[in-house]
Symmetry: C2
Subunit: 246 residues, 2 copies
């Protein structure tokens, strides 16, 4: 088995959720049947959205240090359950010699798999993720049209995300309402493109398919750890060109 | 804040439970208000009980490697949410220059705090933990009398622990029944002295106070991380004599 490296803490509850999914996805087994996992809950990384919108310090040095700790500790590859942190993916990839998965690409691959015919795709994500266009570019390359919430709705999404980060786990009306505005705008699927959102959105109440970036990353991570997939099998865009042959 | 090191994976669900308690104990806050945590889910460590009862390989080298990874990664101290692994505590302490907390001593301190007048204390733990007498010595030093389940009941406790490790989270009748046999033998409190047991015992159904070793370790860990406690403030027995002054 490969040793999983997880750069987390953005936020801690989302990291807990991600690790729980790795355990649940494996299903029954003894301790030893679970892949080893080194998890760096690096909670002191400066807020990603604040930097992207120009009101906070650059998180790049802390993110780079975070992945270097994982490589030094024996991780064979790295997953980062924070969509917004992927704005800094290239800097992290350059800092280590092991593959760093691309959660955004994993989520868009799940969109293509789960809702191949949906053209307009709504995105629930941080303002940082939306500002950088992380999802927009890949969705357009896949032939889809990304839909963002209107400004006032996006402000309420950020309020909900901060509330979840502050410990308020459970359905948040602001997320459901904003998802419905995206459906009203024509979205035929919704991406949960922030790792706090699955902790605050009751997807059963929405009339469209919801694609969960956390789950897409967890599935990819476990398949690589169990060596069901080689790094070469991972869809294009998930890994840097320099990733090791396996 | 101090960086927490967690040597986990024994098993993964118990580690998830422990990390969740650290998050819950802190309560509301932004990402940055949570202490950083490096978590080594070292699932490949050979089974502790199997070694103690003489039917499996020695886990000491893997445990020592596990704590060394945490020290090298920047942890300021280490918590190990696996009671049975504490049979190897001295070897782990000797391998690193940072404090390694003693979960057993933390649990016995919680017994003294929560049920100061209870003389007979029942222990639900692995056969490995019971065989090594980890709890017995400290309980007797505290003036209590440890009670172990009878052999057939202990076999059913191990079945329940393996079932929980295999993913069957939720009340397990075997644990409740064995806890009741300890009460019938005179126990006025029960220690959940294995990190799987809180995942399978409905403590509300027992007529005596239940002390949870996982919670005792989590409280100690968070207080140290938040620098509410110095290493010198930790009760005697929780730290090696060589622990750093703070």
């Amino acid at each position: 088995m490969r040793t999983i490296g997880v750069l987390g803490g953005m936020g801690p509850a989302a990291t807990l959720d991600f690790y729980g999914r790795l355990i649940d996805l494996l299903g029954a087994g003894s301790d030893e049947q679970h892949p080893p996992c080194l998890l760096n809950s690096a909670t002191q990384i400066p807020d990603r959205t604040n930097h992207i919108v120009g009101v906070g310090p650059d998180p790049t040095p802390a993110l780079v240090e975070g992945v270097m700790v994982l490589e030094a500790g024996g991780a064979d590859f790295i997953a980062i359950p924070c969509n917004t942190a992927h704005a800094y993916l290239e800097a992290m990839r350059e800092a280590v010699g092991i593959p760093v998965l691309d959660m955004i690409a994993a989520a868009v691959a799940a969109v293509r798999r789960d809702v191949p015919d949906a053209r307009q795709i709504g995105i629930l994500a941080t303002t940082g993720t939306l500002t950088t266009g992380l999802y927009d570019r890949l969705l357009r390359e896949a032939g889809s049209e990304p839909l963002h919430p209107k400004e006032a709705d996006q402000a309420s999404v950020m309020e909900a995300i901060h509330s979840i980060k502050a410990g308020n786990i459970g359905p948040d009306e602001r997320l459901e309402r904003t998802a419905m505005t995206l459906v009203d705008l024509g979205a035929r699927a919704i991406i949960m493109g922030c790792t706090e959102i699955p902790l605050g959105l009751d997807t059963e109440r929405l009339p469209v398919k919801v694609v969960d970036a956390t789950q897409a990353l967890a599935e990819m991570t476990l398949s690589l750890a169990l060596e069901e997939l080689g790094f070469d099998d991972v869809p294009v865009g998930l890994l840097p060109e320099s990733s090791p042959e396996t």
